[in-house]
């Protein structure tokens, strides 16, 4: 897409969980301004790869931020560089939305003092970007699934990290919220972020991604523009699904028709 040096570069990343490699020599570049969507069948190793990129798993190979090895960063430095949004939008305690979003500033502030003006401003931007400020004082546990997804994303955005890794941010959301969340991720990329999202819906991937990486059995087998990465032939090979391409006016969108 562009030739700028990648913000995050992963080369030869291998993760073994109990002997067998779950991620096998995976390579991926994320550039600022780009939304990359990672797709692949269940068990392909997408979540494990994302956690390795976030520095949450010991991995072989190299993961670099701005050319610096991820392992050379302290946990707090890493947290300021990489925002990670795990699956499931978990909130264990019924805390107010604003307090949850403020957790995004954990690695910025001295943890024992209250938020600085800069932290508060970042929280405000994240709340407003995700249109969650109207229920900022409500408890997260009283929200609907779509609202929770937006709050979880706001928490990650409040970090204002250069890299955003989102693991299945649209899962279990209604169609409108799927579009809203993907739009927010694309906005984050347009604002200069290097964004990676794991998505199962191939139509969403094709519509929103600048690039699509296809993962299969621990490897990135394709990393290309959506139209190339999500062709009917590729989809058949990677997912074992017959797909038809439908042109909606925004370019061809794959629709899965039946298992092969």
């Amino acid at each position: 897409m562009n030739d700028a040096a990648p913000k995050l570069r992963a080369v030869g990343v291998t993760v073994r969980l109990g002997g067998a490699p779950v991620v096998d020599e995976a390579a991926l570049d994320l550039r600022s301004g780009e939304l990359v969507v990672l797709v692949g069948p269940n068990g392909a190793g997408k979540t494990t790869l994302v956690r390795a990129l976030a520095g949450l798993l010991p991995a072989e190979g190299r993961v670099e931020i701005d050319g610096r090895p991820l392992s050379s960063l302290s946990a707090r430095e890493r947290a300021r560089q990489i925002a990670y949004l795990p699956q499931g939008h978990i909130f264990h305690w019924p805390m107010p939305v604003a307090a949850v979003v403020a957790l995004g500033r954990h690695a910025h502030a001295d943890a024992f003092s209250s938020l600085s003006d800069a932290d508060r401003a970042a929280v405000g931007r994240a709340l407003s970007a995700t249109a969650t400020e109207t229920f900022a004082t409500r408890s997260v546990t009283t929200l609907s699934g779509g609202e929770r997804a937006r709050v979880a994303l706001a928490r990650a955005l409040a970090t204002e990290a250069a890299v955003l890794l989102a693991d299945e941010p649209t899962v279990s959301l209604d169609p409108r919220h799927q579009l809203v969340v993907m739009g927010l991720l694309r906005d984050a990329a347009r604002a200069g972020g290097a964004v990676l999202a794991v998505v199962h819906d191939l139509a969403l991937a094709a519509r929103f991604a600048d690039r699509v990486a296809v993962m299969e059995r621990g490897r990135i087998i394709v990393d290309a523009a959506p139209i190339e990465a999500l062709s009917a032939a590729r989809i058949a090979a990677a997912f074992g699904v017959e797909a038809v391409m439908v042109d909606t006016g925004d370019g061809p969108i794959p629709i899965a028709r039946r298992p092969i």
């Binding site: 978990i90 264990h92 957790l103 928490r155 970090t159």
Partner: protein
């Protein structure tokens, strides 16, 4: 959030005032009842019988009640924060049970009277051994489930060891002494007990308090908290060791006292909200209030009108109040636990 801040401050100030009031009452109450004026005079000038009663007998007892109550309250808040589970409490890690083994052994084999130094030291050693055992069984990078299972196993083993010591006690008198000691009491505790326990209690406050911000981040789950810069393994280790120090020393000095760690955090959540970092301080203060109040109650309620000077045991009172509370809480959380709500 600012309204939450001020309600938290108000609650902490109110609890601090309550602690001072209860401390004064605790200095007044006993076989020789003193007026507030006599108690304070005895405390500050130390003269006459009132001075001896207040300074040598009731002051150590009062301070121990406050420190131990606060330790249980803070331990409960810390474990609930670490485990993201409102039903967590110190006994989950086996520390109080292991402390009880060490202390019972000392009493049973006449190595010490129930009120001397060796008992608390053995209790603390027992709690530290239990933590060493957990780390050995579960491994350093252990998951929470493995750590909890290890705690459960050690707690059961410690219970069996205490039963064995009772079983093999050399004299019926020793068995009776252990049985009473296990019921929990602050009767006849001296300044020496206070000096032995206090360093461990304060160390535990430090270890637990330093992790309060991590508890808040953990509301997002361990992965998200780690991505925010929280060192999950270190946090878990500090909390487990902190609980072992605090609860080990507390149980070693005062015997088994249950449920304060479970109840205190719940009592304050309504006022300060569920933010696990914000719960820590008021939970500690509430623990101090509860245990001091219970210790005053056992001195006011005679256990048996026919027996002379036998107090109701502290652990009995906290359990009698704690168990119904625990059941009510399970009842209330049941729908959430079943996943029917939300």
């Amino acid at each position: 959030m600012s309204s939450n801040n001020s309600s938290g401050l108000r609650l902490n100030l109110a609890l601090a005032a309550l602690i001072i009031a209860l401390a004064v009452v605790s200095l007044m109450v006993g076989p020789a009842a003193l007026s507030p004026r006599q108690a304070l005079a005895g405390l500050f000038d130390g003269e006459g019988p009132a001075g001896i009663v207040v300074r040598d007998i009731r002051l150590p007892r009062t301070l121990l009640a406050l420190l131990i109550g606060a330790t249980f309250g803070l331990s409960g808040a810390a474990l609930q924060g670490l485990l993201r589970n409102p039903l967590a409490e110190p006994a989950l890690f086996g520390a109080p049970q292991a402390a009880a083994v060490g202390a019972s052994f000392m009493i049973a084999y006449g190595l010490a009277g129930a009120t001397s130094f060796a008992v608390p030291l053995a209790g603390i050693a027992g709690a530290l051994l239990s933590i060493g055992g957990i780390v050995a069984i579960a491994g350093r990078r252990a998951s929470l489930t493995v750590t909890l299972l290890a705690g459960l196993a050690l707690a059961s083993f410690a219970g069996a060891m205490t039963a064995l010591i009772l079983n093999l006690a050399p004299t019926p008198y020793a068995a009776l002494e252990i049985a009473f000691w296990l019921l929990g009491s602050l009767e006849d505790r001296s300044v020496d007990h206070l000096l032995i326990a206090a360093p461990f209690l304060l160390a535990s406050w430090l270890l637990l308090g330093l992790n309060a911000p991590a508890f808040r981040a953990l509301t997002l789950g361990e992965d998200a908290a780690a991505s925010l810069g929280v060192d999950i393994v270190r946090t878990r280790l500090m909390v487990v060791v902190g609980v072992a120090f605090g609860v080990g020393a507390a149980v070693a000095v005062a015997g088994s006292i249950s449920f304060i760690g479970l109840i205190a955090p719940h009592l304050v959540r309504r006022a300060v909200g569920s933010d696990p970092a914000r719960v820590c301080l008021p939970a500690a203060l509430t623990g101090a209030v509860l245990l001091t109040a219970a210790d005053i109650a056992v001195r006011l309620v005679p256990a048996n009108p026919n027996a002379t000077a036998i107090e109701l045991k502290l652990g009995v009172v906290t359990a009698l109040i704690g168990v119904p509370f625990f059941i009510a809480m399970i009842f209330r959380e049941r729908r959430l636990l079943d996943g029917a709500a939300s």
